[in-house]
Amino acid sequence: MSVSGVGGPIPSYNSNIGGVNSNSSNPIISKHLSSAEFQNVLTSLGIKPDNVVSIKQENGVQLTNPLQDLQVISITPQIAEVLKALGLGNVELAIVVSAEDEIKNIRKKLKEIKDSSLNKDMIDKLLKQLGISQTSEAFVFTDHTGGLLIVQAGLNEISEKIDEEDDDENEEK
């Protein structure tokens, strides 16, 4: 299971939540991991904090530990640059939850959050629990793979446009 956030360098660490033994080298992340709010979030997502025994970064979402591995991704300057280029700003934290035996539950919870008719106060409360600034009004989550396909599709789109323009130029000549 992974939880990811956006806001600084991707850390590599091993920590314990539940007993709250946060050893992250990233102080921002340590703060989140050790906070009661963070554990409240886990609880609200249906994860027992006591079951979260390690936090570590592995390759993407290919987490093999059957226990809930949390992955926290912070916003790097590079990601901030990309977000800015896309016209998205103020993303401070991403929460990603994935685990072999919990992912369905997490997806369900995220979908419920997205699709439900919860009022703003409840959303604000949730964001607060997630450690997201009330003014940021932005968040990130992922459990997606398929990055190569996404990149390939985007490059194909650009390539087709170049071909079109080359054809137009040739016709003009």
């Binding site: 290919q62 590079q78 016209g87 700003g89 009004e137 990055g147 996404i150 985007g154 650009i158």
Partner: protein, 105 residues
């Protein structure tokens, strides 16, 4: 305001990058790919150099390099860099972030 209203003003994007941010491509550079409904962005950074941001506007087909309008040569460079990422990265190396931003355009 109900959640549906909140989300009606949303914008979203996908960001593809190495899950391990310390990982670089064989030439030492790093590349982040991102896309939204309106744009495709490729961020390229060589060690000890300022990063270059390529923005391709999907509707107009225009490309901007560090916010200056570019040409087909820049689009081809964008393609070259993206292809390099595809050649060198394994699916398991990458993570895709879904970003949702409430009316933050």
């Amino acid at each position: 305001m109900v959640l549906n209203d909140l989300y009606s003003a949303n914008s979203s994007a996908k960001i593809v990058q190495f899950a391990d941010e310390t990982k670089t491509l064989p030439d030492g550079s790093s590349i982040i790919y991102a896309e939204s409904d309106g744009k495709i962005v490729l961020y390229h950074k060589r060690p000890f150099e300022r990063g270059t941001t390529y923005i391709y506007e999907r509707k107009s087909g225009k490309v901007f390099v560090n916010n200056k309008e570019g040409n087909n040569k820049d689009k081809r460079e964008m393609l070259r860099l993206g292809s390099y990422l595809l050649e060198q990265a394994e699916e398991s190396d990458l993570i895709t972030l879904n970003v949702q931003s409430k009316g933050d355009k």
